[in-house]
């Protein structure tokens, strides 16, 4: 352990623990997932940074969205994201989740993933190198430390807008809202 950080550990132990044990859900979206096997195995060894892949969303707190998001994948992404325990962090990887990338006029690929789920950080590039994941992770550490990686809080606060956007893209969703509307909003029902 770095002795310089001992005051941080004493001040906010939970935050520091979150920061150094990111469990990445192994969700394969699009072509970017090809960069993840070298990242988590011997060549680049993400465990140096405290990242290990988690088998299921309920055991993960880092969500890497690696590549273009088709409408069908968006449904799976939302379900995965909603199952993850808090605090959870999302990183969009590659140019396609940012603004559509080369699929910006595709009939079945959504642009701007942050309209549907909150994103804490982006890695630009097509494709980004595996090193870019580590740059993003060290940047995410800074964000967590400063309480700026607050995507899951934004999701809770603006859930109605996110849910209505999701329904605009996917039609009626078959699962109940993650955060049911509070009583004063329910009104006339």
């Amino acid at each position: 352990m770095d002795r310089n950080q001992i005051t941080k550990w004493l001040k906010a132990p939970a935050k520091m623990a979150n920061k150094y044990s990111l469990h990445a859900i192994y969700f394969c979206t699009g072509c970017g997932i090809i960069e993840v096997p070298p990242v988590i195995t011997a060549r680049w060894d993400a465990e140096r940074f405290g990242i290990i892949p988690a088998a299921t969303p309920r055991q993960a707190n880092l969500f890497l969205i690696t590549g273009y998001v088709s409408v069908k994948t968006l449904r799976a992404i939302i379900r995965t994201y909603e199952q993850m325990p808090e605090p959870k962090y999302t990183v969009g990887f590659g140019s396609c989740p940012i603004n559509g990338g080369m699929y910006w006029d595709s009939y079945n690929t959504i642009k701007h993933l942050d309209k549907y789920i909150p994103i804490d950080g982006w890695i630009a590039g097509c494709m980004p190198r595996p090193e870019a994941i580590f740059i993003a992770v060290t940047h995410l550490w800074t964000l967590i430390e400063k309480d700026m990686a607050n995507g899951y809080i934004r999701y809770k606060d603006n859930y109605e807008s996110y849910r209505s956007n999701q329904e605009m893209a996917l039609g009626k969703l078959e699962w109940p809202p993650l955060y049911p509307a509070s009583d004063e909003h329910r009104g006339g029902e």
């Binding site: 409408v71 069908k72 449904r75 910006w104 006029d105 595709s106 009939y107 079945n108 959504i110 642009k111 701007h112 942050d114 309209k115 909150p118 934004r154 606060d157 603006n158 807008s161 996110y162 956007n165 605009m168 893209a169 996917l170 039609g171």
Partner: protein, 171 residues
């Protein structure tokens, strides 16, 4: 190998054009009623693998073209014989208005997902297909999206670009 198959096809079926664009390739153009018979004939001749079933939208000629690509499976264990390197492409045109064709799943069962895909993306219906349900797409489209008159840019502007960005309430 090219020659005998070409001659056999020409002598067995009327109203077909057989071309040999290059070595190991045969392009057959046939009318719609002949197609099933030709496929069955080719399967019996040894072309027992349907490698691809695809469609082309010729919007200026007002027709769709279905392409069936047939090859052989490897017969001996180690390598292909010269006679087995042959690819046959069978093309047939169908009208663009109310496009319909007959399913070929009875001859090549692996055509099932191809036909579902074509049904979904081009709107061609296949008579006798066991289940023409959606395969890839989640949304509904007025014009099937692979047709040439489907304007993807307009569709994206109308649907995906209209979805607003989420503004953070807390700010």
């Amino acid at each position: 190998m090219n020659k005998p198959i070409k001659e056999k096809l020409e002598s067995t079926f009327r109203d077909i054009q057989v071309a040999v664009p290059e070595d190991n390739r045969i392009a057959v153009t046939a009318e719609k009623p002949n197609v099933l018979a030709i496929l069955r004939f080719l399967k019996d001749t040894g072309f027992d693998h349907l490698a691809l079933l695809s469609a082309v939208d010729w919007i200026e000629d007002n027709c769709f073209e279905l392409c069936f690509i047939l090859t052989c499976y490897m017969q001996n264990d180690d390598e292909y014989l010269d006679s087995q390197r042959l690819h046959i492409i069978l093309k047939t045109k169908i009208p663009r208005v109310k496009p319909q064709f007959v399913t070929i799943t009875g001859i090549f069962p692996n055509a099932e997902p191809y036909e579902r895909e074509i049904h979904e993306l081009f709107g061609i219906s296949f008579e006798g297909h066991p289940r023409l349900t959606p395969l890839f797409l989640e949304r509904e489209y007025e014009i099937p999206p692979f047709r040439k008159d489907f304007d993807t840019r307009k569709y994206v502007e109308d649907i995906f670009d209209k979805i607003p960005f989420v503004m953070d309430k807390a700010k």
